[in-house]
Symmetry: D2
Subunit: 423 residues, 4 copies
């Protein structure tokens, strides 16, 4: 069913502008210099994120669908294509941090131009045209939300490399809990379950191929592992004892001299950590974050437990916490973790931290790539990465679902990642 054009246009325009504005709000505290650099290949310059999300709408909506559309600049496709081979050659990913031009102001002009053109397009498009572009339009919005999360984590990394340890924002007051939620292993009933997104709203192609999975009964911890618990692992020599570790993880930890999560620094025998509010004391009751899959798995082994599979996680989430309302998300503006609230059931499943699962990021049965460039969105990454579930304090709340599959290589630490135990 098609919405009346005018209504549809209003809904789409409002949502479009809300998300576009949110991206710029994230960058508002930055100085132009902050938006240029790429200290490691994983981290893209904020200026690049601002332009690349704009390029998406220009390339996949305006160019094919807006008659006589004039691109803002003929070389921006080369500059701001991320990884779409179908769309032609591009700046190498590891060279993004050398591009000083267009400068930040020009990138904002690019955003304004595309925003205007999009508004005009949405206003003038027929109901059929709106229906035709709906999937890619929605993908563009979801894509921009993904980059909102990356902006937060990339800004954190960029500022962290600076010996001046600058804060992104001054700290807001936040609720302090007097103690951590007591850990408890909650039973979940096994059997055959349906996995994958069953609805008709937007989801990514990697959630499709709804299919049956059999799992045994299992137990899941009622909250994430805390900084205090992780510190015990560290103090018990966890980083030195190969028996807890996967081989490649242990070698990497040695090579990289890992002794603690990323952003932790030891100062006169006391651990602190760099946050988006600058250097801070560690809250022992808040969940530990910025750990790799290797560390998550080593911790679980040391604790005599294990990580969940992505299927177990999805089953538990659908049972305990299918709705993201009230979670610790981007909109909460904590820009970091909070201790688990003393809720019934299972805390922190949606929001707070992406939870490493012991599942490789592979296609579901019957997975099929979209044709054309957008087929490169997810499918080509389905090797050598692990699935993370649940969203984080940097994820927009409207972006997450119990079936959402995020994925990173097992050595990555700069995302808001966490540990949930099972047995």
């Amino acid at each position: 069913m098609l919405l009346p054009v005018e209504t549809a246009t209003n809904v789409l325009t409002t949502r479009f502008l809300a998300i576009r504005t949110q991206t710029e709000a994230i960058c508002q505290p930055l100085q132009p210099e902050d938006t240029v650099v790429q200290p490691i290949v994983d981290v893209s310059p904020p200026k690049w994120h601002l332009a690349h999300t704009t390029w998406f709408f220009e390339t996949f909506i305006l160019q094919p669908h807006q008659p006589d559309y004039a691109v803002f600049h003929p070389k921006y496709n080369y500059l701001f294509n991320s990884y779409y081979n179908s769309i032609g050659s591009r700046v190498l990913r590891n060279q993004r941090g050398t591009l000083t031009r267009p400068n930040l102001q020009e990138v904002y002009q690019y955003r304004a131009y595309v925003n205007e053109q999009m508004q005009e397009f949405l206003t003038k498009a027929s109901a059929e045209k709106l229906a035709e572009i709906a999937p890619v339009f929605e993908l563009g919005l979801q894509h921009e939300q993904q980059h909102q999360e990356l902006l937060i984590t990339d800004i954190k990394y960029i500022l962290s490399t600076n010996p001046l340890l600058p804060a992104y924002l001054p700290k807001q007051t936040k609720t302090v809990y007097s103690e951590a939620l007591k850990p408890e292993m909650l039973p979940v009933k096994g059997g055959i379950h349906e996995i994958g997104y069953p609805g008709t709203d937007f989801c990514f192609d990697n959630e499709l191929g709804v299919h049956k999975v059999y799992v045994d009964d299992f137990k899941i911890m009622n909250r994430l592992v805390t900084n205090g618990e992780y510190l015990e692992f560290m103090q018990a020599g966890g980083y030195e004892d190969f028996r807890h570790w996967l081989g490649e993880g242990f070698e990497l930890a040695k090579t990289e001299h890992w002794q603690a999560p990323l952003y932790w620094v030891q100062h006169e025998d006391k651990w602190q950590h760099f946050t988006l509010h600058g250097l801070e004391e560690i809250d022992l009751h808040a969940p530990v974050t910025h750990i790799s899959f290797y560390e998550a798995n080593a911790y679980a082994t040391w604790a005599g437990k294990r990580l969940l599979t992505e299927f177990e996680w999805e089953i538990a989430c659908k049972q305990f916490h299918p709705d993201p309302a009230n979670g610790n998300f981007l909109e909460s503006k904590n820009f970091g973790t909070l201790p688990a609230k003393n809720t019934e059931g299972c805390a922190q499943l949606l929001g707070d931290l992406w939870e490493w699962t012991y599942s490789a990021y592979h296609p579901y049965p019957n997975y099929s790539k979209a044709p054309g460039a957008l087929g490169e969105y997810n499918g080509k990454f389905m090797i050598n990465q692990m699935v993370l579930r649940g969203g984080s304090c940097a994820t927009p709340q409207s972006h997450i679902r119990p079936t959402y599959r995020n994925f990173f290589h097992p050595d990555k630490r700069w995302q808001f990642t966490g540990i949930r135990l099972a047995e």
Copy 2:
């Protein structure tokens, strides 16, 4: 139930000597110089394999169980420990090819010494002692069989790097089939299946944790993909078209200039390949081998099919071909692939080639590592590798089972790997 000591001793000794002798028979065609080098880190020098398999019995049987056992040489533990952190420090893996001493003759003396000591130990051990050491003794034999396969593949690689292209052995006559078995997609019934080794004989710990898995109905091709079929992929520009490839695979193929399987060389517009019998014409009807997971998956995508999961493969193997008898194994002495015979059912499941599956090598539910050093045998590798199934023309026949899980990183090509399609 314990066997009468004498009988048990005879059985064990006979089997021990048969496997030990087989290892030396594999190395018999080599010259001392061939046994020293390590052209890439994956490939170990044959001399090292000969010593390392011997070290296993010395370290895990003779030293702990034979009273007053005198080690053959006090530094051999340091030299021939492969990756057991529990057993102490060792020569770095990438330095194995610098060790010219002990020389080949001394390594054979080491083997003879340990063989004698093992025979004496088996002869004198009580029934209780035999029962106690039985698991690790059997593991030692299975371990040596694994190294027999590695000897074949490593020898092939070593000889292949030599511009003289020396043959390992002259070619035996082998049956020639006038044409390839016609490809057919055989249906397999889905539902809940039991996965893992259900018996009481030896299996590796990674096959345990028998558990239920649900799969949908699927179809499996009745033979492996042939050289002729793979050549069509090559000629259709398969190595140049990113759409068929996983992203990391395509980048690697570009960086490494892959244009064909490993060992294929183009000579005046005609492809040949290096084999253990020297340079040979390519048999278009024989299965294609020495391809990475990336190539296997790209081929399957191009062909409009997919690879199997390891669960589907195991279900199909148990149904079509549970018994390795009559397969193309090490004992067949083909040292290479053969065209599929025109059998009923599904050809080449056991033997010929290890089949890449689209399953990551992860622990089964309820997997538990053995305590002590042998816990390092399998568990610590359970990340970043893909499962291969079915054994190859370099695998000893008595070493394989339908539940056997082999594993390599998705970029590896020097093993006898192959492609089976599903849909």
Copy 3:
């Protein structure tokens, strides 16, 4: 003899401010984003140059000599120390491009603060104090002039990596010569010559140890090698023929796919080059620049000539062109090379381009390092580098002398380097 304090102060202050202002004038056309990045390790961010030259005065004048001096920021020593081990730990050289803070405006505040403090110091200092700090004060000014040149070459490199090919400045009209000066080999008389700086004004320690050198009679070309001449070398297959090249140079040229000088790009069979005014036609009569020592030497070999030694160069310069007046220097604001004027004698010796000599950068006899941190200024670089002579179009005119020894590794191309032939 000490100058009257007031006069001395005025002279020093005037010179100090002139040089400090000149540095900022160089950066004036840049946008904040341009001043942050470090596309290769050789190239430092302009913001870093601005701060590091300031740090020099703070560290070597104000901190030791100005009582109660308060450093502008306690961490700036860590951030802006370049390579002085004596002064403590510092940001790794290859991490300069990750520092977004202090931002450009804060760096200018730092400059203003130190400038004020320096003026106050110079005003209040006694004649004895002025005499005491005179050498390091002068070194600070010369040091800043060196960074002025580096600013020009680093800005050029930074802009060149941008696919938008932005100009640093629009082009000024420049004199056009209808043809190149006809090449001529000018004879120079050999024998024993004095080498090194003989005067009492400022020179670097690497010019000292005035000493005798014997050279045979030789001939020197009356101008630098032109783009047109170099193009002949290219078109004759010069980059492909190993016979002209030093072994390590040829291997590097192959690995890096060198086909032309740095910044040359081929567009529809026509060579252009990126300049500080953007992409331009190549002036065949202007000297070729941005070539490595390897290319300079390969060209000379191909041309049947050779490069000069640094001693021959110095002898010739003292004879033909001891005075930098009227050369093509930074102050000429050409920011690039010009064809040789039809002068008497030997053109382009001072200014235009640094001329690669076939002399390693080693200490002169009786060379002695200064005590303390400033001993690290030159001495520790006296290995693996080649001497360049004469200054370039990016060198401040007052900075150069016939005895001046510049030095770079033989593979470097981003400086304004050129070729002069001898026989």
Copy 4:
């Protein structure tokens, strides 16, 4: 003047066979396995040295000058060409250690075949032909002597990487000196001196271009720096104090964790070193060896002295010790250093150790490369390397002269290198 053919033939044949036999005598203590490996790229497998020196005679004498000469094997040119681009493509230098074939026995057959063919050629050649090939024949012999030295140093390195620390040969008794020769700085008169080989016998092209050099008066130490003296430098923290070091040397020493010369190992607070006779106590009176240029220069700086230039060294050698008789050379079979004898004048100038000079390896004035492949012998290496003088305990005595220029990169340590001080 031509010798009577028969006499010339006898002289040439005798010398040829003597040198060829000497090479094989060096390899006689090795086992086949020792002759294959290449633990670092600098070190070639002994089997390769044996074949490459043979290839030289086949390629430069027999193929061009012996009518109807049949090469021993058509692929050996590809296998055993070292670096002559003129002679065609070849095995990459870093791949020499992967070549197990031809095996050692086949390489000896290759040597025997070429020896026979050479003898036949020398017997049958006319006086004119002998005169024509004389230069390249002599070069072949000198070349083989160079590889004799490399065989010794490469064998030492290969055995040293083995944890069994095998000896090349058991130790011979050697004269023990009760104490080191007292160090003394001997004055040498400066002025204009002639540098380069002035005679008519064989010398390398890099010694030619006899030319005048001016040096000031200088002083030279009467012996090499001893292990005991170097140990003082180590114990004074020499490896930790950047002030003594060239910058690139200090960084390398940190990266490589250098704490002592190559082959020194600390065992229970006592230093020992690996020698060709196995692990040994360090003789405090013997000269220190296996140090890089960086270490040599750091030692000299620490000691308040300096290294010599190659010109000073040559002048001193011609004055004090022009004749290699009675030096510690390969023929002495010490395979290591000896304390300086209490001689008059300046000890250890020829023999014992190659002495690092602070002179880059550049062409002499008027240096000219030979035409054709042999022009690649020396000239293309004239960059980034330092000159060493005097020969070592691994150099054949008849191979050395006061004008002989050896050269290595300043980081190399596996040659028999030493330190002589000047001031």
